[in-house]
Amino acid sequence: TTRTPEFLGLGRSSDLFPTSNSMGEVIVGILDTGVWPELKSFDDSELGPIPAGWKGECQVGKNFNSSSCNRKLIGARFFSKGYEAAFGPIDETMESKSPRDDDGHGTHTATTAAGSVVPNAELLGYASGTARGMASHARVAVYKACWLGGCFGTDILAAMDAAVADGVDVLSMSIGGGMSEYYGDTVAIGAFTAAAHGIFVSCSAGNSGPMPSSLSNVAPWITTVGAGTLDRDFPASLTLGNGDKYSGVTLYNGKQLPDSLVPLVYGGSVSHSSSGSFCMAGSLIPEKISGKIVVCDRGGSARVQKGVVVKAGGGVGMILSNTDSYGEELVADAHLLPSAAVGQKAGGAIKKYISSNPNPTATIGPGTTKLGVQPSPVVAAFSSRGPNPVTPAILKPDIIAPGVNILAGWTGAVGPSGLDSDKRHVNFSIISGTSMSCPHVSGLAALLKAAHPEWSPAAIKSALMTTAYTTYKSGEKIKDVATGGPATPFDYGAGHADPVAALDPGLVYDANVDDYLGFLCALNYTPEQIKSTTHRDFTCHTSSKYTLGDFNYPSFAVPLETALGGEGGAGVSSTIKYTRTLTNVGDPATYKVYLHSQTQAVKISVEPATLSFSAQYEKKSYTVTFTATSKPSGTTSFARLEWSDGKHIVGSPIAFSWT
């Protein structure tokens, strides 16, 4: 967050930004591992009295008292009964039975969403600058439901129950669990009631990319956030004995290797174990790595843990090589020994050099901070991907935001690597994940809520989605680092968040509880399943026609059928109609539709092609007709539908899937 506000355009001056006073009326709830309240990120000196409607509390516990809260951190609670029921009493020598964060993750997400402005922030000399949450004047309420042993559904539900009762405006949840129908999904159930209370709920999409259909938290009343890079990197040079040079990334800042070359080995060749290439604990033979730089493959264990294994065996440095799952994605870590993470191509070249040379050597140079890296953003390899595994007719993820190498506040309980053996103390740390992108969007939602207090959670989500961008300034499509090629809506949803545009979206696709009930009817849910999901008695009307296609979502997923006989079905066409309703949240204007498609297999038409709005909050509907010819099962293609009045562009991605 010493870079992401600028990267997102928040550094620009705009009349659209809410005032500090209105921002101070918005409360961001963070459901996570707790908080380290002593950080400057929770300074309250620029904030006025706590909003009058706030009903939360500052729960006292080990290392946490009522003075831990202030006008910035206005609430802090912990929920451990489910955890303790499963694992036994909390070992208070290991973790605090209080809202205090012993992990770092919760402090990181909270400060990313709404941390106060902190000049001169940095981690070990890297990423220096002024750190700030996306909604730096919003209030923070922390709900600790995640512990060293994980987060349990009963505690999560209790935390969500409390957040609704307390009166948060935004709820940020960077967690994920099993995949199930909405009536069996604790987070989806809790989020429904939260949304019905006007709370914007954002969740991380998951880190199971680039595998397709790997998303979590896909309920349509949740904003599902994937991760992209920003234009910052931490390069370190690698020099091999043959003179070849490669660039890696590092956050190491301890004693550097000598300029002279050091023996170099591949973990897979200095091990008795099949897991040696991953430098798993106990897999490396100390006599074969002592005094050497070890190349380890990414995967199988925590990246920083591999460095510990190398160091414990007497290795003096580590090169962390991506495998094909991660492509060229470079994630920097605060290792405890000289290190550099390299992409798959460089890693392959280094391994080839080792295998073809009797005495391979290398050295790793010091790391630096580099800004202005292009192209950016690119979709992170780890970011979970669509199609939506629960309801393919709803396109997910919804949006991407910065989630790679993010600097934000950290706990004082563990060092920046998160390892027990790391005794360094830092106020900020740099970590990666959709956990980091989610609170960016939560903070942006808080910003929109402050600017437009009357907007529903669905309107805020629509504003963020329809103004998201999918191309670089050059016009080239946003890339996927996992493939090196262009990303698709299954990777980035509506695109990358652009909060300045979202403050003035022109039109929104609004939705309320009735729309969500209709959505569940379209899924053929029974009254019991609807009640389990929504907490409401509702029976779908037999006389009403409920279709997923007419659910007023800001994006389109169009499942298409393959004709029997697969490819032999060429020429067979099917027609699908989707209806949407737009609400004008700007000045009176006339919008025209524009369609961009990458496929000839689907003809798209929109009726009417022009929508005129004469008043604010006026609603107008339109129908999109998709006429598709048959394609082989598994074929996907994409298009984009835009409404524009010349000033605003209200964009929606369209994903076609033949099954």
Binding site: G150, C151, G176, G190, A205
Partner: protein
């Protein structure tokens, strides 16, 4: 199999408040009664007020199954463990 049947797990019990018998003046008493009907020893971890009506508790699979069949019970969901992303 018997051992598995007797192993306790945590469940989220989702109640349909509209089915609360009139004899109960308070929903928490109704929750407590439903729990006691299947287990003498189980206690409530949480009672939920806003996001669902119901409670969480530790039960054996057999007790959970018995509870599922009672009137006024919407669902008895085994607890899921989540992880940080």
């Amino acid at each position: 199999e018997e051992k598995i049947q007797q192993t306790e797990r945590t469940y989220i019990v989702h109640m349909d408040k509209s089915h609360m018998p009139e004899s109960f003046t308070d929903h928490s008493l109704w929750y407590d009664s439903s729990l006691k009907s299947v287990s003498d020893s189980a206690s409530m971890l949480y009672a939920y007020e806003y996001v669902i009506h119901g409670y969480s508790t530790r039960l054996t699979a057999e007790e959970a199954e018995t509870l599922r069949k009672q009137p006024g019970i919407l669902s008895v969901l085994p607890e899921v463990r989540y992880e940080l992303h």
